[in-house]
């Protein structure tokens, strides 16, 4: 859906808080850019924040024309790859670093290491820079960080379970827990049981322990009454309509949950026998199209990720800013910031790309097929190593 820049500015003027300050660009930007985002796929507050930021950038750069296109999250990577590979595509897009490594290896995003001045990175967290880099090269302009945590309804859960044993006992005692049947959302439990995915060479080591225990834990939760559903919408709507007392999800949906659950709380994923849960710590950032106006796109991305604009995203959309100078006031965001800091940085290696299929299948085989977790993880490791040539 194309949105005129003027319409975006008018909409943003309705939601820009009194404290927002337009970006004071040192050199006003001029030119035309096409920008993709996926923010309507979430709670809606991210879109409000983006519009406010775009209005700020427009005010400081009247010569800059930005065409904004929203793409559904499920289609955006596919669409980017096909269009950029064909020599087309937008100038930049804001997405999580899910495919940063593969896009780099396929030559579908620009290496911006030499285009971003050192002072622009000086205030950013090392985690955000590392998560935006592949083999030491900066491949996206960092915007925010994220990791999943446990949302809960404080009216129904007085004290959120802090350990896996407490969570299982709570479910057995009647806590209505909704989990997504997906390896991304539940990966953190592997760390809680001492699991390690791969060694320095990318060879799978998950069969050495931890992962099987995590899958067994999920099976135990299911047997105790937790609902583990492959539908994201079912899980999300379940918390909003009271079907569930607690779920595990990320900060991108916080706006919707906060609007639907008056007394919303967020806690870290429960720790396990081996230590805290280690959910994936990801970085959202602006990818730059190597076919487009790279220099202008990088400058526009830096303008949109200035401290003032990251504050807008933090206040409006519960983003965890990459900029370390921004104070996080909201308790929900603060809890996600802790989850990010303690999380497992999402790898960008080629070997990691072979993780998703086998381990997602292992999860399904245990929960749906009743397979023994140790066998499922052993099978997944063999498949991952075979795909990586080990």
């Amino acid at each position: 859906m194309k949105r005129s820049f003027l319409t975006a500015a008018m909409a943003a003027s309705l939601v820009v808080s009194a404290g927002a300050v337009p970006v004071a660009a040192q050199d006003a930007l001029e030119g035309d850019l096409t920008l993709w985002h996926t923010y309507s796929s979430g709670a809606g507050t991210e879109l409000d924040a983006l519009n406010a930021v775009l209005a700020n950038v427009a005010a400081a750069n009247p010569g800059l024309n930005v065409e904004v296109l929203e793409v559904p999250f499920g289609d955006v990577f596919n669409k980017w790859q096909l269009e950029v590979a064909s020599g087309e595509g937008p100038d930049l897009m804001i997405v999580p670093n899910d495919s940063l490594g593969q896009l780099t290896r396929d030559g579908l995003i620009a290496d911006i290491t030499d285009m971003v001045p050192a002072e622009a990175l000086a205030e950013l967290s090392q985690l955000s820079i590392d998560g935006s880099s592949v083999d030491g090269r900066l491949m996206q302009v960092p915007e925010s960080l994220k990791a999943v945590a446990m949302y809960y309804n404080k009216d129904k859960v007085a004290t959120p379970p802090a350990t896996t044993d407490e969570l299982l006992a709570a479910v057995e005692g009647g806590l209505k827990l909704g989990l997504l049947q997906g390896i991304y959302h539940n990966f953190g439990f592997a760390g809680a049981f001492g699991g390690s995915l791969m060694d320095a060479d990318g060879k799978c080591t998950a069969d050495a322990g931890g992962f099987a225990e995590a899958l067994q834990f999920l099976a135990d939760l299911k047997a105790a009454g937790a609902v583990i559903d492959p539908s994201y919408d079912n899980m999300a709507n379940g918390l909003k309509d009271g079907t569930y007392d607690a779920i595990i999800d990320g900060p991108w949906a916080a706006g919707g949950y906060a609007a639907a659950v008056p007394n919303l709380g967020v806690a870290a994923m429960p720790a396990g026998p081996a230590g805290p849960s280690l959910p994936f710590a990801g970085v959202d950032g602006w990818l730059i199209n190597p076919n487009g106006n790279m220099e202008l796109a990088v400058k526009a991305a830096l303008a949109m990720t200035s401290a003032e604009n990251q504050k807008i995203f933090a206040d409006t959309a519960f983003h965890i800013p990459a900029n370390t100078t921004i104070a996080i006031d909201d308790p929900i965001s603060a809890q996600f910031a802790t989850a990010v800091a303690e999380g497992f940085p999402r790898p960008q290696s080629a070997q990691f790309g072979a993780f998703w299929g086998p381990f997602g299948d292992a999860l399904n085989k245990v929960l749906d097929g009743g397979m023994a977790p140790a066998d499922a993880i052993a099978e997944a490791c063999v498949a991952m190593n075979a795909a990586n040539g080990f």
């Binding site: 030559g107 579908l108 749906d368």
Partner: protein
Amino acid sequence: MSAPALPAPRPAPPAPRRPRLGRDWKTALLFLAPAFIVMGVITFFPLAFQTYISFTEFTIKYIRPGADPAPWVGLQNYEKILSNNLGIPNFFFVRQVIYNVWWAVSNVAIHVVLGVAIALLLNVKGLRFKRFWRALYILPVVIPPIIVATVWRNMFDTQHGAVNQILAGVGSLFRIPAEAFRIDWMRQSSEVFPFLPDDVSYFIPLAFFALLAANTWLGWPLNAVVATGALQSIPGELYEAAEMDGAGPWQRFRNVTLVYLRPAMIPYAIYGFVVTFNLFHLAYFMSAGGPFGRTEQLVTQAFRLVNEQRLYGVAAAFSVFMFFILLAITLVTNRAAKATASFEG
């Protein structure tokens, strides 16, 4: 007396002349050229290019204008497919082929039998609102396939689906608790018929029956339409003559009705087989190929290889396999159709 003169032999008919190109052959070619050019661009070139890339390791980075040509790997893609070595969970090529054939055969058999049965009912003399019934039964065909798949998937939903709710309602009459009918139609992997060997049970998971129900709803109406047309072409005198000869209802059906139905139904069954073999929307949008790839069809697998895995070279090799499988099926069914056409002698 002399013998009568034999009549002069008839002159032999002139030998058929070879057709010669007329003076207008160039004009004819000129009129055919646009079609050939369009076919060349949208059919022949893609076929040739696809065959070429099936022998290469073609991935997305080779799409870029000016990119190096994809490396030649010979038969490696074909070997990977046959040895199930694509790095994709639950990929078993031979099982997929067997399941695909079984899926098409089972569906067509049910569609034809049901279509003929309902056509016979609609052909009963004195049945009221015939035109209404016939119009109503066309509705499944005009609904967009994605809508059909989505609605049926929702109907088979574990928690809120109409199917489970209806079963729970019936079960309540027998005091069976509703929880017993929380059937996970699409993901249940335990065997429906435990007494069958595993090699047979593999091809009939619970999801297969859900897909079968949806496709039966979709497939029998047109079979009924074709059968109705064939039934109406049967001369009534044949039935009268058969009755006068003492033929009972079953004998009249077998020796008159079936004989006239066959030339219409068999070609349509062949067409239905090919359509069902390549049916995309139910397997993709209802079961997503699950549980664990057991309802994955060749056409949905090919789509995933392109859209999800970006293994264009492998997907091309996969499509070449599909082409030859369908070619073999077409040749066999054509032979069967010709054998039936000669029945009337």
